[in-house]
C-alpha cells in the first residue's frame, strides 16, 4: 500500500461526499427513488429525527440542512424578515423551486420557533404532502415524556408506512436499529480518530463525510466511513502546529465549507463540534433485541447529547462542557452561532460563564450559511490560535 494510493482512495471517497454535498437539488434521492416505483423519501430538518422509524417503513430519511452558500435565494427572502436566520430562507427556496419534489414528506423537529413555524409554512406551501411537527419531549421521565414520545414514534411510523405501504413491525424496526447501530459505530470511530489525530481527518473531510449520511442509504454511508477510516491513516498526513478547538453552536444552520477551511488555515484543529448533530445525537448503541420502540425512546430521553434546544434538566451543561473540553484535550472553544439563532445565542452566556470559571479560553462569532467573507473570522481565529500557542490562553 503506497501512501499515494491511500491518498487517492481518500480523495475518491471525499469527492463522492463532496458531490453529494453539492447536490442541493437532491438528484441522488431522485435516482434512488427511480429504481423502484414504491420508494419514498422523507426529509427531516435539524436536529434529530428517529431515522430508524423512517427506514423501517421502507423510506429513505433525507436530512435537509439548508442550501449553504450554493443556492441563490430568489424567493426565499420574501418569506422572512431581515432578523430571522438564513436557514429557513434557503429551505423555502428549495421548496418553492421544486428542489424538494423528491421528498414525499417532511419532519420538523421541535428545536426553535423558526423551524416550528416553518412546519406550518410547509403545510401551506406544499399542501397535500405529509408534513409533521415532531414534538420531541422536554420531559425525560420515561412514564411522561417517554410515553408521549412513543406515541409520536408510532404516529410517524403509521404515516410513513401508509405512504410506502410497509408496516413498521417490531422486527423491521429492530433491523433498522441494527443498521443504524453500525452507522453510529462508524461515526464514533471517525470522531475518535479525528479527536486523537486531527491532522489525519481535516475538518472539511470529516464534515463532508457526515453530511453524506444525510443523503445516502445508511449501509452505504457506513461503508463510506469505514473505507475512509481504513485508508486515511496510511495517506501520509503529518501534524501541524495547530491548536485544538472545540466548537459549539452550529447544530442547525450549517457553516459553509469555506468557513471550516478558514478555521483550519487559521491554525485550529477542530477536535469536537456539533455540526450535523442529528447523525450522532444518540452516541451509543441502541438495544437490538428487546422492544425497539423502547430502545428509541430511551435513546432519546436518556442517552441523547446535550444541546441548546434541549432542556438541561440536570443543570450540568456548563460543567459537562468543561469536562468535555478536558476529555478531548481542547486548548480552547469557539462559540460560533448562526446570526439570529435564538437557541444558540441564548445558550452562549451560560457556556461562557462555565468556561470563564474553568479558565478555558474561548472566542465567539456569528456566521450564516451563505457567509462569503472570512477575513474577520480568519483574523479572530488566527489571533485566538496564536495567543494560545504563545501563552496557553486567549
Amino acid at each position: 500500500m503506497s501512501t499515494a494510493t491511500e491518498q487517492s482512495k481518500v480523495d475518491a471517497l471525499v469527492s463522492r461526499a463532496q458531490a453529494l454535498y453539492e447536490d442541493v437539488s437532491f438528484e441522488s434521492v431522485r435516482r434512488w427513488k427511480g429504481q423502484s416505483e414504491c420508494r419514498k423519501a422523507i426529509g427531516f430538518l435539524p436536529i434529530y429525527a428517529p431515522r430508524e422509524v423512517i427506514h423501517a417503513a421502507g423510506a429513505l430519511p433525507v436530512g435537509i440542512l439548508g442550501g449553504g452558500d450554493q443556492l441563490e435565494i430568489v424567493r426565499g427572502d420574501s418569506f422572512f424578515q431581515s432578523y430571522i436566520c438564513h436557514l429557513p430562507r434557503s429551505v423555502v427556496e428549495m421548496a418553492v423551486s421544486g428542489r424538494l419534489d423528491a421528498m414525499d414528506g417532511f419532519l420538523f423537529p421541535s428545536i426553535c420557533d423558526v423551524i416550528r413555524n416553518l412546519s406550518g409554512m410547509f403545510q401551506m406551501l406544499l399542501a397535500g404532502k405529509y408534513v409533521h411537527y415532531l414534538d420531541l419531549p422536554q420531559n425525560f421521565d420515561s412514564e411522561l415524556g417517554g410515553e408521549f414520545y412513543r406515541t409520536e414514534l408510532h404516529a410517524i411510523a403509521d404515516a410513513v408506512g401508509a405512504l410506502t405501504g410497509t408496516r413498521v413491525t417490531d422486527s423491521r424496526l429492530r433491523g433498522s436499529i441494527a443498521l443504524y447501530n453500525q452507522n453510529r459505530r462508524a461515526i464514533q470511530e471517525l470522531l475518535q480518530l479525528r479527536t486523537e489525530q486531527p491532522w489525519l481527518v481535516p475538518t472539511t473531510e470529516y464534515y463532508l463525510l457526515l453530511r453524506a449520511g444525510y443523503l445516502l442509504p445508511v449501509d452505504q454511508h457506513t461503508a463510506l466511513i469505514d473505507e475512509y477510516l481504513q485508508a486515511v491513516p496510511h495517506a501520509g498526513r503529518r501534524p501541524l502546529d495547530n491548536i485544538r478547538v472545540l466548537i459549539r453552536g452550529a447544530f442547525c444552520e450549517q457553516p459553509p465549507l469555506a468557513l471550516l477551511r478558514t478555521l483550519e488555515r487559521a491554525g485550529c484543529y477542530v477536535v469536537d463540534d456539533d455540526f450535523v448533530l442529528g447523525s450522532r445525537f444518540i452516541p451509543r448503541q441502541l438495544d437490538e433485541t428487546g422492544d425497539p420502540w423502547t430502545a428509541l425512546v430511551e435513546g432519546f430521553t436518556r442517552h441523547s447529547v446535550s444541546t441548546a434546544s434541549k432542556y438541561d434538566e440536570a443543570n450540568t451543561k456548563g460543567e459537562d462542557l468543561v469536562s468535555l473540553v478536558r476529555a478531548v484535550r481542547a486548548d480552547g472553544v469557539l462559540l460560533m452561532a448562526p446570526s439570529f439563532c435564538d437557541p444558540a445565542l441564548l445558550d452562549q452566556p451560560m457556556l461562557q460563564s462555565a468556561l470563564d470559571k474553568a479558565g478555558i479560553p474561548f472566542t465567539s462569532f456569528k456566521y450564516s450559511e451563505d457567509t462569503g467573507q472570512f477575513q474577520v473570522i480568519r483574523e479572530q481565529a488566527g489571533t485566538f490560535a496564536d495567543a494560545i500557542k504563545l501563552w496557553g490562553k486567549a
Binding site: F79, Q81, F108, C112, Q138, Y311, N315, L346, P349
Partner: protein, 424 residues
C-alpha cells in the same frame, strides 16, 4: 353615571389591583410568602394560588418597564454582559433589571424566586430564559411543564394526557413541597369556576368590537382588558368584579353610541376597522396608539390579546375537569397554534368583525410570532381581498421603534384602504 365616570372606575380598579399585587411582592419575604416565577402563556395561576404562592411574570415586568422607559438601559446592560443583540429583548430587559438590583416596574423590590415554573407554551425562548435565570438565582429549582405544540392543528388525547400527567405528577408535588401545603382540589374547582365567569365577561367585551362603531379598541385598549385575566388574578373575585365592571362600562358605551376611549378622550369617527397580528411596541406605546386613533383607525380584533388564552373560540376553564382543563388551557394559547390555524383565526376575525384590513406589527424579538408572518399576510390578502399592512418594531428595545418610518407606513396603509374602498 356617565360613561367617563364608569371608565375611571374600571381603570382605577385595575390600577389598585396591580399596586396591591406589587406591594405583596415587595413584602413577600417578610410576610413569609413564597414566590413562583412563571410565564403568561400557559400560566397555572389557579394552581399557584392553591398553595398560597405568589406568581411573578417576567414578561409583565419587562413590558411594564418598557412602558416606563426603563428597558433601554437594562437591555444595554445585558448585552454588555454577553447577551447577544439578536435575541428576545424581554429576556435581556429581565436580566438587565436583575443586574440593576431587581427593582420592579413600580420601583419596589421584586422578591427572588423560590421556584421557576417553566410552563413551556408557545415559545422556545422561555426554556432558555429560565435556564439563564436559574444560574442568576444560585440554581433555583426549575419545574418543567412541557406543553406540546398543535403542529397538526389540533390537540390529541395523547397531548392532553401528557400535559395533565405532568401537572399531576411533577407540578403539583413540587408546589406541595415548596409550600408545605396539601393540594386542595375543592379550592381549585372554586377558583376555576370564578375564572370561567370572568372569561365570559372578557369575551363579551372583546366581541363588543363587532358593533359599528366599535366601543373598544381591541389592541391598545385590549392589552389593558386582558391584564387581570392573563396574570396573577385569574380565579380571584377581584378578576370577576373587574370584568363585570368593565362589561358594564362597555354596555354603556354601546348604549351611548360611543367609540373607544383613547388617551385623548373618546374617539371621534371610526374610519378604519383593523385586525392586528403581533404584539404592540411598549416603549412608545402611547405614540404608536396615537398613530391609529389620530387617523380614526380602530383595532377591532387582535391576536396578541389571545396569547394568554383563546377564550373567544369557546375555551373556558372547566371546574368539572380541573387538571385537564389546565392542560387544554396551556395548549390553546395563540402562539401554540399552528401557522395554518393562526391564518384561519385571523381570516375569521376579518369576516366576523367586518375589518378593512390586517395590519401586522412584526417584532424583532419574537420568532414565535414573527417567523411566517409574511406568508400570513399574503394568505389573508388572498382570502379576504382586503389590503394587508406590515410594520416592524420591537417589544421593549427603543432602538427598534422608528416613529417616522412607522407613521409613514401606517398613513400609506390607511390611504390604501381608502383607495380600495373607492374602487369597491
Amino acid at each position: 353615571m356617565t360613561a367617563q365616570a364608569i371608565k375611571d372606575q374600571s381603570q382605577e380598579r385595575q390600577k389598585q389591583m396591580l399596586s396591591d399585587y406589587f406591594d405583596s411582592l415587595a413584602h413577600a419575604k417578610e410576610n413569609g410568602r413564597k414566590v413562583v416565577y412563571t410565564f403568561v402563556p400557559g400560566n397555572l395561576t389557579e394552581l399557584i394560588a392553591n398553595f398560597d404562592l405568589l406568581p411573578v411574570l417576567p414578561e409583565i415586568n419587562a413590558l411594564q418597564n418598557g412602558m416606563r422607559g426603563r428597558t433601554g438601559d437594562f437591555i444595554h446592560a445585558a448585552e454588555k454582559s454577553g447577551h447577544s443583540e439578536d435575541v428576545c429583548t424581554y429576556v435581556k430587559a429581565d436580566i438587565g433589571m436583575l443586574k440593576a438590583g431587581n427593582m420592579g416596574p413600580t420601583g419596589q423590590p421584586l422578591p427572588k424566586p423560590d421556584m421557576l415554573l417553566l410552563s413551556y407554551t408557545g415559545c422556545f425562548t422561555f426554556l432558555k430564559w429560565f435556564e439563564l435565570l436559574r444560574k442568576e438565582y444560585a440554581d433555583c429549582p426549575v419545574v418543567m411543564l412541557h406543553v406540546p405544540y398543535q403542529g397538526d392543528g389540533h390537540v390529541t388525547p395523547q397531548m392532553r394526557k401528557y400535559v395533565a400527567d405532568q401537572i399531576r405528577d411533577k407540578v403539583i408535588p413540587a408546589l406541595e413541597k415548596l409550600s408545605g401545603r396539601k393540594f386542595d382540589p375543592d379550592k381549585l374547582k372554586r377558583d376555576l369556576k370564578r375564572s370561567s365567569v370572568a372569561e365570559d365577561d372578557l369575551v363579551w367585551v372583546l366581541e363588543s368590537a363587532r358593533h359599528k362603531p366599535s366601543p373598544i379598541d381591541a389592541y391598545f385598549g385590549g392589552v389593558y382588558y386582558i391584564g387581570p385575566i392573563f396574570t396573577a388574578f385569574r380565579g380571584t373575585q377581584d378578576a370577576v368584579d373587574y370584568y363585570q365592571l368593565l362589561r358594564s362600562e362597555i354596555e354603556e358605551r354601546i348604549r351611548l353610541g360611543l367609540g373607544p376611549v383613547t388617551p385623548e378622550g373618546n374617539l371621534g369617527e371610526e374610519k378604519y376597522r383593523i385586525v392586528t397580528e403581533g404584539p404592540p411596541n411598549w416603549t412608545s406605546f402611547r405614540e404608536f396608539w396615537r398613530m391609529f386613533y389620530s387617523e380614526g383607525a380602530v383595532v377591532v380584533a387582535s391576536t396578541y390579546t389571545k396569547v394568554g388564552g383563546l377564550y373567544d373560540r369557546g375555551f373556558r376553564h372547566d371546574p368539572a375537569n380541573p387538571i385537564e382543563t389546565l392542560a387544554d388551557y396551556c395548549m390553546g394559547c395563540y402562539t401554540n397554534l399552528s401557522l395554518p390555524e393562526r391564518i384561519n383565526l385571523i381570516e375569521s376575525y376579518m369576516n366576523e368583525y367586518q375589518a378593512d384590513g390586517l395590519l401586522i406589527n412584526s417584532v424583532k424579538s419574537c420568532n414565535s410570532f414573527s417567523a411566517g408572518q409574511l406568508l400570513i399576510l399574503r394568505e389573508i390578502e388572498k382570502r379576504t381581498g382586503k389590503p394587508g399592512g406590515f410594520i416592524e418594531s420591537d417589544l421593549v428595545d427603543p432602538r427598534y421603534f422608528s416613529a417616522a418610518n412607522i407613521k409613514n407606513r401606517l398613513e400609506s396603509y390607511f390611504q390604501m384602504i381608502e383607495a380600495r374602498r373607492g374602487r369597491a
